[in-house]
Symmetry: C2
Subunit: 355 residues, 2 copies
């Protein structure tokens, strides 16, 4: 039994006493204790690949702040790494692949990795984190979206223009679809294996879908996101396993995203949450959406932003508070404490009628 | 008299025979002749500061392609440089300022530069380009938006999180407003001086407004954009001088932008142009909106994208074709020739009824 299931209930739009929150990248470089563990691990990849250390950093933000969920500490690119692309981190440059996928034969050779084998270390971390959480709050599993994973797989790393994958999209859409099909199957198996290992909710991060045209978004990202929603395990341990999709920069396409089969939709901070709620009605819950940079304001301005977002969503359940993107390394943890406290305190009046 | 005024007519939604086009950053690094001139200039800044060389590169894309407008070749950061911030370009790092604006005394010391003095080289280039164009196509003048200029002024260069300016926005909104007030006055005087020197249309580039929350966008970007629209010279040389505003990533706020007082609104490629036209009605013309990366497709896929966008806008005037962002340096000029030809040929049926 979970001591605090507010997060799961809000995702399913069931009554709650306050608006739950967690923070994207809550286990991260803004925490000195995280940096200490990472230094001990030797590298970011070694940190991800050690279930002991991944468990340790997953729990760190929960020791500091009364957050309503834990999220598996892992990298977004574990799947392509397990496909054999050779993930590495060049100092100060972000993730890269030794063997990006560009040619037809490379695409044809892609296969779905067996989670139990190539991604065993992630599943072990999920199990170990669940045991360590001891029922305090739910654990979120996650994956990158097929299109987002394909961006890194084709570009060979981060990009500011995505010209290789977009060149493929326009010149050889068949090849890109093949990459996305294999990756979609891999994501479904990966997330289901996380659920079977103990994840109590799952989230798909479509970090780069928002860089597409509306037509290309529907064809190359949303279509596969929808297939994932269909393929996910919906119940485990006797309760519903809610799922969340987040396309950064997808505000213009909110209705289509809300219809893609997920329980909840993540919002970045460019979307007015009141307008979002009007547009999606009661189809989905919403997760978000404070600008991570609002944490560089004053305690008073943080509370004002929290109040603005809570009032924007309005009365009742169906809102999980979060930032609209990952918290940055330069954030002062004291400001995070202000945020967490503000959400918990200021949200109670918005749930007064229903509890 | 202009030989080709299709661009100006389309911005004013007057009948035209075909959809005109120009390309953001059309004079740029994808052209070998541009790179040759830049090498001769010594540096990007020297290129901008020489009216002879700025004229030369402004005309280069027009010698290759039958574009419907020329745009002044200049840098977006001329105004803060004239304010004394010390613009420089670190190799491979983009623009930087020697003296960013962070402290209250620095904000208080900001003054509006006199265009005739500190920006004389830009006005000289405008006059020289106009003479060289000899009435072939209109010349577009431009400026960065107050918020976009303030981003560089406060950050001291480019940024991927804007934490300094957003920290100021949340902690000391009064200081940011003061920067924006001074910059707005500077932009109005700068654009009006460009018009008096011969610019036949002007465009305000709000490159970073789309990184704000909706509330902050209205208060810190759109408010000042609207003041600029009010302050611009509307007629010169006996004809209307149309103005265009472009907030990259502003699709969610399209109605407010369309109501801010400009003749035309630029669209990036994440917005469906058919939906945009429905939302703005006949309030403004639209400019855009092909993904610059579509130029990495095949000639057939480029023509298909052009057709999709033209059909999306539909029948009649009020559309200036463009990319949704600047063309990138890796683009093959042959692909640009395909684009220009496709827009001119494929757009004629959409104007058949009205001409």
């Amino acid at each position: 039994m979970l001591k605090n299931d507010t997060f799961l209930r809000a995702l399913l739009r069931e009554p709650v006493a306050y608006t739950p929150l967690w923070i994207m990248r809550q286990a991260g470089r803004y925490l000195p204790e995280y940096n200490a563990t990472r230094a001990r691990a030797g590298s970011f990849l070694q940190l991800c690949q050690s279930p002991d250390l991944a468990t340790e950093v997953t729990l760190q933000p929960l020791a500091r702040f009364p957050l309503d969920a834990a999220i598996l500490f892992s990298d977004i690119l574990t799947i392509p790494d397990a496909m054999g692309l050779g993930l590495y981190f060049a100092e100060g440059e972000g993730p890269k692949f030794e063997r990006p996928i560009r040619d037809e034969w490379e695409v044809r050779n892609l296969t779905v990795p067996e989670p139990d084998v190539g991604l065993r270390y992630v599943l072990d971390a999920v199990g170990q984190i669940r045991r360590s959480l001891a029922g305090s709050v739910p654990l979120i599993g996650f994956s990158g979206s097929p299109f987002t994973l394909a961006c890194y797989m084709v570009e060979g790393g981060g990009s500011d223009d995505f010209r290789h994958i977009k060149g493929m999209l326009y010149r050889r859409p068949d090849l890109l679809h093949r990459i996305l099909e294999v990756t979609t199957e891999a994501v479904i198996r990966y997330l289901n294996a996380q659920i079977e290992s103990g994840a109590q909710a799952v989230m798909v991060f479509d970090t780069w879908g928002g860089t597409l045209t509306p037509a290309a978004y529907r064809e190359f990202s949303l279509h596969y996101l929808s297939m994932i929603a269909d393929g996910l395990i919906k119940h485990a341990e006797g309760r519903r396993v809610p799922n969340v999709v987040f396309t950064k920069g997808g505000g213009l396409w909110l209705e289509s995203i809300a219809d893609s089969g997920y329980d909840a939709v993540g919002l970045d901070w460019t979307m007015d949450i009141a307008e979002a709620r009007r547009r999606v009605g009661d189809r989905v819950a919403l997760q978000g959406n404070m600008d991570p940079m609002a944490l560089f304001g004053s305690p008073d301005s943080i509370r004002a932003e929290v109040q603005r977002i809570l009032a924007g969503f309005g009365m009742g359940s169906g809102h999980v508070f979060n930032l609209g993107h990952g918290i940055t390394r330069f954030t002062d943890p004291e400001q995070v404490a202000v945020l967490v406290d503000a959400v918990h305190q200021l949200s109670r009046p918005f749930h007064a009628e229903v509890v």
